[in-house]
């Protein structure tokens, strides 16, 4: 394999981007280690694509500094940055063959033709399109076009590889396969990859780290597991997977642990630097237990709806603290709608987050 990695880190130093009055990216600071795949995740309009384009040099920051490796690239145009990007629309040049598309970056950087051809063939091999170099992009399927776009970006051996929602035009099955391929290539080559998506499942599946963005700022940075298990606020908790958000009271804090009261239940949970007073609990649906009979440390409730979805059961329960959504792997021992029920939480289960 002749495609190498020149992976470099990416650093944001209080970067701001405003379009007129609209602030798309607000004072973001961020460090992405070399060789990592980091996802920018968030709802539409949260600024994730703008952040990616700032790295690419397709947008110019209105404030702050951007570094790739040790180099300050803040004012450098896209051309002069050692990055490559895979676009949502793939942006394959419709007037060039697949081979010409892949070799394009090499050609414009002045690589000799035989070298360029050999290297683009390597890249096509890597994405499994060895024989399609002479086709026109319009003659390929969506998945193939997508892989051409990846090959075209890879062949330049960029310091950073950027993906802008690369899978959104593919069907679900293909999406899973392609994202695994991307992850595999990234890990094999040790590339620095920054990946924009609004699909949390995709993000969890491929990332080393995830940067969750909301309203032009970073909501939380962490590994998939950290984000899932210790969301820092209600937004993250709800955006990554699903979560029940319940109001609670921190009664006291001792060291790292807090004593938390939710109705009749009193729990010892990691304090996460919160002070005594009102707070919220984020609880994953799979961390909720349902009991038909009265058990200590549970909440009373009424089962509103039970849905059988094959692999598991989904329940909606009305309690004094709000509606709770629960998932149970037990599809044999069923609870029935409209029955009185007790709701308990596993350990680890509830996570403290600041009050809204």
């Amino acid at each position: 394999m002749t495609i190498k990695s020149n992976a470099a880190s990416v650093r944001f130093d209080a970067v701001t981007k405003a379009f007129g009055d609209v602030v798309a990216v607000d004072q973001i600071s961020l460090l992405i280690e070399p060789g990592k795949l980091v996802t920018l995740l968030g709802p539409s309009g949260c600024g994730k694509t703008t952040t990616l384009r700032l790295i690419a040099g397709l947008e110019m920051a209105t404030g702050g500094q951007i570094f790739i490796g040790d180099r300050d690239v803040t004012k450098l145009p896209a051309t002069d940055r050692d990055v490559a990007m895979v676009f949502q629309s793939y942006a394959l040049f419709p007037h060039m063959t697949v081979g010409e598309n892949v070799a394009y970056g090499l050609k414009v950087s002045g690589v000799k033709k035989p070298d360029a051809q050999a290297r683009s063939q390597d890249a096509l091999n890597l994405v499994g399109l060895a024989d399609l170099g002479d086709r026109m992009p319009s003659e390929l399927s969506g998945g193939q076009q997508q892989r051409v776009a990846v090959a075209r970006a890879l062949v330049l051996e960029p310091q950073v590889l950027l993906f802008d929602e690369p899978l959104s035009n593919l069907d679900a099955k293909l999406r899973r396969r392609v994202r695994e391929e991307i992850r595999e290539i990234q890990q094999n080559l040790g590339l620095t990859v920054i990946y924009v998506t609004h699909d949390q499942e995709e993000a969890l599946a491929v990332s080393d780290d995830i940067v969750v963005m909301n309203n032009a700022v970073i909501a939380q940075i962490g590994t998939p597991r950290e984000l899932y298990e210790v969301p820092s606020d209600a937004f993250v908790a709800d955006f990554i997977g699903e979560a029940n958000i319940l109001d609670c009271e921190i009664e006291s804090v001792a060291g790292d642990m807090a004593q938390v009261r939710l109705g009749d239940i009193v729990m010892q949970l990691p304090a996460l630097n919160l002070a005594p007073g009102p707070a919220q609990l984020a609880i994953r649906p799979r961390r909720v237990d349902l009991h038909a009979e009265a058990v200590a440390e549970t909440l009373p409730g009424t089962l509103l709806k039970a849905t059988y979805v094959g692999t598991h059961m989904e329940y909606r329960i009305e309690t004094a603290h709000g509606e709770i959504f629960a998932i149970s792997g037990d599809v044999d021992d069923l609870h029935h709608a409209n029955s009185e029920i007790r709701v308990g939480f596993r350990d680890p289960g509830p996570v403290l987050i600041p009050a809204a």
Partner: protein, 735 residues
Amino acid sequence: MNKFVALWLAVGLIGFFVLPWYTTDDAFVSFTWLRDGWPLDADYAPAIIQIFAHGKIWLAPLILFFAAVVPVLRGNPSDRLFAATLTFAGAGGLVFLLLQGFTIGIAGWEYASLEALFGPVERQFGMGAGAVLVAAAFLFLLTQGFAARGYVGGDLFVAGSIGLIIALITAFVFFPVSRILVSAFQDNQGVYAFSLFAEKISDSKIWGLRCLSENVSCGVAWNSLMLAVSVGIGSTLLGLAFALVTTRARLKMGKAFRVLTVLPIITPPFVIGLAMILLFGRAGVVTQFMASTFDIPPTRWIYGFTGIWLAQMLAFTPIAFLVLIGVVEGVSPSMEEAAQTLRADAWTTFSTVSFPLMRPGLANAFLLGFIESMADFGNPFVLGGNYGVLSTEIFFAIVGAQNDQGGAAVLAIVLLAFTLTAFYVQRRWVGKKSYVTVTGKGDAGLHAMLPKRLTWLIFAIVIPWTFMMLVIYCMVMFGGFVETWGRDHSFTMRHYADAFSVTTGEHGLIWSGAAWNSFWTTISISAIAAPLTAGLGLLTAYLLVRQRFAGREAFEFGTMLSFAIPGTVIGISYILAFNIPPLELTGTGIILIICFMFRNMPVGLRAGVAAMSQLDKNLDEASLTLGANSFTTVRNVILPLLRPAIAAALVFSFVRAITSVSAVIFLVSADYHMATAYIIGRVENGDYGLAIAYSSVLILVMLAAVSLVQLVISRRKLGRRTAVAGAEQAGAVAT
């Protein structure tokens, strides 16, 4: 070492130390300046010698601005000092260059107050090659300064292009136009008189509405407006019909149609009008036939609105066609296919998807038709009868018995107001909707067939129209071979011999025909102007569509301005502006080329804008992130995808350069005589035979050029299936 700074510094220094500073007659190109006393002779000396040997000491400070650049030669573009230095040196140098040019002219100081202050100075002539290089160097140093500050994303090519176009438009549009518009506020003695302006602009000859109640002519403003709107709508619809026929009807003769539709565009002015008179005039062939067969009394209906409208429709439909064909082809087939799969029938697909997608193109076509009609001079001149329009009134205000330049300027302002309003309305109508249909995703669909009803309607329009065109062109071709057109129809080759005879002498061929001189000048000037015009137009389109920068709106306005102003006004304003230093261009071929560039550039611009707004921006961005700079991106990605627009722009600029009249009349000189000016002289003299013969030859030459361009660069290569190959490939695509 920063190679861009070094390059432009070198260019500037060559301009300053080597090349002749002032204009040097034909000597510059023939290189006679090299042996005729350069570098010491006062006529050919470079700036440095002019300073020391010929007393032009005011040129000396320029060297300081170059010196200022030297310290940053090794500088880092992200350094603040780098940007500041380049900005200062570039701007300072330019300003100083202009200042000395405008204050010291052919009679020394231009302003008595300066003479009193500094004492008398030597006189100087217009800027020459040296000065132009120095100006360019300062300009591009300035734009590099801006780029280094992060303007337009720090892109040198984009910053340089913007700077270049702004400089050119300022020099060759705003400057001359302001010279003539100022005269709207002056009386004939050059004294400012605003009350006179108020009186002239509210004249009932311009705004009169008595035609609504009585049988008199309306004001020329209303006449022009009505004509332009009807021509704009008519030519857009007809152009659309032709575009649909050639692209969608899957005709065997589609190619032939293409050629036929552009025929009027390559017809020198007056010719269509004359042919129409000979056909439909009171003594015309058709009229006489109708009179003798059906007893319809001959009338003069062709003179007036109807006649002008017909002639302009004939003349301007091809423009709409050229704009629309790219748009019609550019509509993504998969969107039409999508509509069809959503159970839309052919008619619904066309009316709800294809047609709305063509909207920007339609708006552009209308705008062009409208403006062309407003500024057209030839057709109203021949066929106008008593129907006065602004363009003819402007012409006769200047050259007619009144010699009222101020009056012409007032009419020009009215005309300009109309065209700019049209421009604004068009912008509002197109709005901000996205019409991207060529995306980076391969698009392998087939264009939808036209609905049946529409097909018949289109054929019902296109076929008679085509027939009429054929008749007119037969008339024209025929006219060159008869003794006296419309009178004595005995066959002769006399007119061709008069114009294009070639005899052999002792030194080989002698081009003895009367037309050769103007013919060669016309062809070479147009051939030089065409690529420059198309390039300028497309570059501007690229900047407008693809780049965000401060002052974009004003920039766009400036590019449309020279197109919106009638040729007569441009012609006169060019003489006013470029007859004296610092830009002394009258009597040269350059002034013609420049005039063509800025008059015709908006066509390439509109075609480019329409085509480029259908190109997914991600394509350029992909190229940029792959390490191509914006210039390479334009060359490798955008231009190949814009082939139809380029073809249109090239063809159109070439052809318009050959066929333009009103501006050219004032700018031709003894050494640079243009074909149209020659033909008009013949027409004025009633010598239609030679005029027609000459026009026929020009038509053939242009036809050859058009075909060549069409052949070399026309269709986009997008890998869309053709109807035949479609079925076979459908399987392959489904992977």
